[in-house]
C-alpha cells in the first residue's frame, strides 16, 4: 500500500514533524529488534511507545507535564486547546489535564496503535470523528468534567467550565452563546457534576425556543434560572421590536 501523507493542521509543522519522524525512524531501526519501518503501517511496539513517551518527560520521571505536553502538541501539529486533544486524553483516560502518566500513555496509544508522531497524525481524523457519535460524545463530555476540574474540589470553577463548554458545545448547541452570557452575569462560581451532565441533556432535548421546556422536568436550578433569564430577555426583545 502506498505511503499516505496525512494532512495536519499546520503545514510547516508537518515538515518539522516528518523530520523528527525520520529521526525517530532512524534511531528505532537501530534499537528495535523487530523489523519496523515506522511507516504508518508498521506494527505497534510497546517498547517504541515507551521510548517515545520519554521524549517528553524530564529526566527519569514517569509523567509528561505541561512543558512536555506543549512539545507533544507541537509535534503532532495540534493546538493544546483543540478538541482533538480532549478526545485523545479521553482515549488515554488521563486523570489530570496537562499531564499524561506512562500507564495512561501506553494504554491509550496501544488502543489506537500509535507509537509515533506520524501514526498519531494518521489517527487525528478518526479521533475527531468519534465526536460525531452521540454515545461516545456523551462519554467524552462527562469525562471532561473530572478531567478538567481541580482535584482538590468536587466542582469545577466557573471559568474552566466556560472554557470547556465553549469547546464542547460551542458549535453544536444553538443556545450556547446565550448560556455563556447567562453564566457571566450569574453569581455561580462553580459547576458541579450534576449540573454539568444536565447541561448536555438540556442542549440535546430542549428546543431553542424553549417550547418543550417543562418546569417539572427536574432540571437543576441553574437551568431553570437560565430559562427564566432567557425568557425575560426574549420578552424584552419582543417589546423593543414592537416599539
Amino acid at each position: 500500500m502506498p505511503r499516505r501523507r496525512r494532512v495536519s493542521a499546520n503545514d510547516d509543522s508537518t515538515r518539522a514533524c516528518s523530520k523528527r519522524a525520520r529521526t525517530t525512524v532512524v534511531s528505532s531501526r537501530k534499537s528495535s529488534k523487530l523489523a519496523s519501518h515506522h511507516s504508518p503501517l508498521s506494527a505497534f511496539s510497546s517498547k517504541q511507545c515507551i521510548t517515545w513517551f520519554h521524549e517528553y518527560t524530564n529526566a527519569d520521571e514517569d509523567v509528561i507535564g505541561p512543558e512536555g505536553m506543549e512539545k507533544f502538541c507541537e509535534d503532532i501539529g495540534v493546538e493544546p486547546e483543540n478538541i482533538v486533544m480532549l478526545v485523545l486524553a479521553w482515549k488515554l483516560d488521563a486523570k489530570q489535564m496537562g499531564f499524561f502518566t506512562l500507564p495512561e500513555w501506553l494504554k491509550g496509544f496501544s488502543e489506537i496503535l500509535c507509537d509515533s508522531v506520524e501514526k498519531v497524525q494518521g489517527k487525528l481524523e478518526y479521533l475527531r470523528s468519534i465526536l460525531n457519535d452521540p454515545v461516545q460524545f456523551k462519554s467524552i463530555y462527562r469525562y471532561a468534567f473530572d478531567f478538567a476540574r481541580d482535584k482538590d474540589q468536587r466542582s469545577m470553577d466557573i471559568d474552566t467550565a466556560k472554557a470547556m463548554l465553549t469547546l464542547l458545545l460551542g458549535r453544536q448547541w444553538v443556545l450556547y452563546s446565550c448560556f455563556h452570557q447567562f453564566l457571566e452575569q450569574s453569581k455561580y462560581r462553580v459547576i458541579n457534576k450534576d449540573q454539568w451532565c444536565n447541561i448536555l441533556e438540556f442542549s440535546r432535548t430542549i428546543l431553542p425556543d424553549l417550547s418543550n421546556y417543562d418546569v417539572d422536568g427536574a432540571w437543576p436550578v441553574i437551568l431553570d434560572e437560565f430559562v427564566d433569564w432567557l425568557k425575560t430577555r426574549q420578552q424584552l426583545h419582543i417589546e423593543v421590536a414592537q416599539m
Partner: protein, 671 residues
C-alpha cells in the same frame, strides 16, 4: 268578572252532572265493564266518558282557551291582592287532573304550563320592582313572603304537585337571576350586613340563597372577600401603631375571629362551606405578615406573665384556646417554636411566669397540635429549673459545713443545659465585681466537683441582683424652696432590684463618686447597646426609679457624660425594682438573624426528610418526591419546590442520591 265566575260555575256544574251521569251509566253497564272491557283490553265506561267530556266539552272551540285565561286571570288577581273564588279554581283544577285519566297531562297542558309561564313573567317584572327599592333585606323578606304565598296557593287550590314547580319558578326569577345583585347591593348587601352586625338579616339571606344552586357560593365569596380585606388591613404594616404592638395585633385578630365565629353560628348555621372559607381566609392573611409567629408568641407570653391585668384564670384559659386556633393557621410553625422557646426562657429565668401549671398547660396544648418533638426541649427547661433548686439546697449545706458565708452574698445559681435553652452566638462579656464573682467561683468549684467533665459559663445578660443602697442626701421637697428646718430624715436605705449588668455598673460607685460613660464602659466591659439601655433605666427613667443622675441632663448618652449617685433619691417603697427598658419584640437586625437561623434549620429538615423518604422508597420520581417532602413538613412550614430542588441537588453532589441513567427525572438512594 261575574261572567268569569259564571263560566266556572257553569263548567263545574256541567262537570258534576257529567260525573253523576257517568257513575249511573257505569253502574248500568257494569257487566260489560267487568267482562268485555277486561277481555278486550279497551277503555272502561267511566274513562270513556271522561275522554268524551274532555274532547267534546273541554277542548271544544274556545272553552279550552277561555278556561285557561279565566284561571290565569284569577290567580293574577289574587296576586295583586284581590279576593277570588278559590273554590271554583280548585274544582277546575281537580277536574283537569281527573281528565288526564292516568296522567296529569291535561292539567299540565291546559293549565300548569301556561300558569308557570305567566308566573315567570310576573315575577320577572316583580323582581325589577323589588330591586328598585334598593334594600337587600327588604327584598329578601318580600321574596320569602312571595314564596310562602305561592306555596300556599298551590297547596290549597291548585294541584299539590304544582307546589314545587311554582316555587322553582319563584326561586329562579327572584333569586337565581339576581343573586349577585342582592349579595353585592351597596349599602344593604352582605358587606353592609357584616359591617353593621346585622346577624338576622344575614341569616335570612343565607336561608334564601340556600334554596338555589350557587346561591351560597355567591354569598360565601362575598363574605370571604370582605373578611380578607379586613384581615389584610389588620396585618399590613402601615402608620397604624397597632401593627407594631404585638398584643394589640393578635387581640385584633382574635376579635375578628370572634365576630366571624358569631356570624358562622348565628347566621350561617355552622355551614361547613362557610367554616372552610373563613378558615382559609384567616390562613391567607395571617401568613401575609411574616411577624405573625413572633407576635403570637409574644401575645401568649403576655398572658402567661405575672400581673395579667384584669383576667381571671378561666378567661386566660379561654384566650389561650382561641390563640391556639390562630396558631393552627400559621404556616411557619417552626418560627413560632423558636420564639416561644426564647420567650419561655425569659419568663422562667426572670421569674415572670404566673405559675408552672399554666406554663405546662400551654405546652400540652402545643403538644396536642404539634407532637412531642415540639415540646420535648421545652420540658427540658423546666427540668433544669427543678434540678437547680436541688443543687442550691446542696450548695447551702455545703457552705454551711465549710463555715463560709460568701462574704455576705446570698447566691442563687440556676444551671441551664445548653441543648434545651435558646443559644446565644457566644456569651457576652462583662466584668463582674469582686464579691459576687468570688461567690460564684466557690459555687463553680462545688458544682464541677460533683459533675466532672462539664463546663459552666456565666451568662451576664440574664440574672438579677438585690443591692442594699444607702442614700445620704436630704429629701428633695416639692414646691417651696424653703429653708425651713425639716427634721433631717438621715440616710435612707433601700433594697434595689436590678439586672446583673446594672449591678456591675452601680457597684463601681462604691469606689468613685463620678464616672463618665466611657469609664463605665471600660470598667464593666459591657456591650454598647446593652450598656446604654441599662444606664437609661438607671438614670433617665421616672423619678422614683432614678438611682443615678447624669450631667448634662439630656436624653442622649454621650461618652463624655458623667454619672453619679442620686442622693436625692426617694421612694415610698423600701424595695425598689428598677424596670429595664425592654422593647417588645425583636429589633430588625435581630429578626434577620432569627430568620437566618430558621432558614438554616429548614435546610437540614428538608434534607433529612428527603433522605428519610428515599431511604424507604429507594427510587422516586422528582415530582412525587417533592410532593412527599412538602407533605411531611407542612406541619412545620411550607417549603417551596425550588428550595426542595436545591436540597436534592445538594444531596446529589454529596452522593446521597443519584439520577438514574435511564431517566434523569428519577432519583435513587445511594446506600
Amino acid at each position: 268578572m261575574s261572567l268569569n265566575n259564571n263560566f266556572l260555575q257553569t263548567l263545574n256544574q256541567a262537570w258534576n252532572d257529567h260525573q253523576t251521569s257517568m257513575v249511573m251509566i257505569r253502574d248500568i253497564l257494569m257487566y260489560m265493564d267487568r267482562v268485555y272491557v277486561q277481555q278486550n283490553n279497551v277503555d272502561n265506561v267511566y274513562n270513556l266518558g271522561l275522554m268524551i267530556f274532555r274532547d267534546q266539552v273541554l277542548h271544544h272551540g274556545q272553552i279550552k282557551d277561555h278556561l285557561q285565561q279565566t284561571l290565569l286571570d284569577m290567580v293574577m288577581c289574587e296576586r295583586k291582592g284581590e279576593v277570588v273564588d278559590r273554590g271554583a279554581v280548585k274544582n277546575a283544577c281537580q277536574m283537569l287532573m281527573v281528565l288526564g285519566i292516568d296522567s296529569r297531562t291535561v292539567y299540565e297542558e291546559d293549565f300548569e304550563r301556561p300558569f308557570l309561564h305567566q308566573s315567570a313573567e310576573f315575577f320577572r317584572l316583580e323582581s325589577q320592582k323589588f330591586l328598585g327599592e334598593n334594600s337587600a333585606s327588604v327584598y329578601i323578606k318580600k321574596v320569602e313572603a312571595r314564596i310562602n304565598e305561592e306555596a300556599e296557593r298551590a297547596a290549597h287550590y291548585l294541584d299539590k304537585s304544582t307546589v314545587n314547580p311554582i316555587i322553582g319558578v319563584v326561586e329562579k326569577e327572584l333569586i337565581c337571576k339576581h343573586m349577585k345583585t342582592i349579595v353585592e347591593m351597596e349599602n344593604s348587601g352582605v358587606i353592609h350586613m357584616l359591617k353593621n352586625h346585622k346577624t338576622e338579616d344575614l341569616a335570612c339571606m343565607y336561608k334564601l340563597l340556600k334554596r338555589v344552586d350557587g346561591g351560597l357560593e355567591a354569598m360565601s365569596q362575598c363574605v370571604s372577600s370582605y373578611l380578607r380585606e379586613q384581615g389584610k388591613a389588620l396585618v399590613t404594616e402601615s402608620e397604624d401603631v397597632d401593627t407594631k404592638n404585638p398584643i394589640n395585633y393578635v387581640q385584633n385578630l382574635l376579635d375578628l375571629k370572634d365576630r366571624f365565629d358569631h356570624f358562622l353560628h348565628e347566621s350561617f348555621g355552622d355551614d361547613m362551606k362557610f367554616k372552610q372559607v373563613i378558615s382559609s381566609d384567616f390562613e391567607y392573611f395571617l401568613n401575609l405578615n411574616l411577624k405573625s409567629p413572633e407576635y403570637l408568641s409574644l401575645f401568649i407570653d403576655d398572658k402567661l406573665k405575672k400581673g395579667v391585668k384584669g383576667l381571671t384564670e378561666q378567661e386566660v384559659e379561654l384566650v389561650l384556646d382561641k390563640t391556639m386556633v390562630l396558631f393552627r393557621f400559621l404556616q411557619e410553625k417552626d418560627v413560632f417554636e423558636r420564639y416561644y422557646k426564647q420567650h419561655l426562657a425569659k419568663r422562667l429565668l426572670l421569674n415572670k411566669s404566673v405559675s408552672d401549671d399554666s406554663e405546662k398547660n400551654m405546652i400540652s396544648k402545643l403538644k396536642t397540635e404539634c407532637g412531642c418533638q415540639f415540646t420535648s426541649k421545652l420540658e427540658g427547661m423546666f427540668k433544669d429549673m427543678t434540678v437547680s433548686n436541688t443543687t442550691m439546697e446542696e450548695f447551702k449545706n455545703h457552705i454551711q459545713a465549710m463555715g463560709s458565708n460568701l462574704s455576705g452574698v446570698d447566691l442563687y445559681v440556676r444551671v441551664l443545659t445548653t441543648g434545651f435553652w435558646p443559644t446565644q452566638a457566644s456569651s457576652p462579656k462583662c466584668t463582674i465585681p469582686t464579691t459576687p464573682r468570688q461567690a460564684f467561683e466557690i459555687f463553680k468549684r462545688f458544682y464541677l466537683a460533683k459533675h466532672s467533665g462539664r463546663q459552666l459559663t456565666l451568662q451576664p445578660q440574664l440574672g438579677s441582683a438585690d443591692l442594699n443602697a444607702t442614700f445620704f442626701g436630704s429629701k428633695k421637697e416639692d414646691g417651696a424652696t424653703s429653708t425651713l428646718n425639716k427634721t433631717s430624715s438621715g440616710p435612707r436605705k433601700h433594697i434595689i432590684q436590678v439586672s446583673t449588668y446594672q449591678m456591675c455598673i452601680l457597684m463601681l460607685f462604691n469606689q468613685r463618686d463620678k464616672l463618665s460613660y466611657e469609664e463605665i464602659q471600660t470598667e464593666t466591659d459591657i456591650g454598647e447597646k446593652d450598656l446604654i439601655r441599662m444606664l437609661q433605666s438607671l438614670a433617665l427613667g421616672k423619678l422614683t426609679q432614678r438611682i443615678l443622675v447624669k450631667e448634662p441632663k439630656c436624653k442622649e448618652i454621650e461618652p463624655t457624660h458623667i454619672f453619679s449617685v442620686n442622693d436625692q433619691f426617694t421612694s415610698k417603697l423600701h424595695r425598689v425594682k428598677i424596670q429595664a427598658v425592654v422593647a417588645k419584640g425583636e429589633s430588625d437586625p435581630e429578626r434577620k438573624e432569627t430568620r437566618c437561623k430558621v432558614d438554616e434549620d429548614r435546610k437540614h429538615e428538608i434534607e433529612a426528610a428527603i433522605v428519610r423518604i428515599m431511604k424507604a422508597r429507594k427510587r422516586m420520581q422528582h415530582n412525587v418526591l417533592v410532593t412527599e417532602v412538602t407533605q411531611q413538613l407542612k406541619s412545620r412550614f411550607l417549603p417551596s419546590p425550588v428550595i426542595i430542588k436545591k436540597r436534592i441537588e445538594g444531596l446529589i453532589e454529596r452522593e446521597y442520591l443519584a439520577r438514574t441513567p435511564e431517566d434523569r427525572k428519577v432519583y435513587t438512594y445511594v446506600a
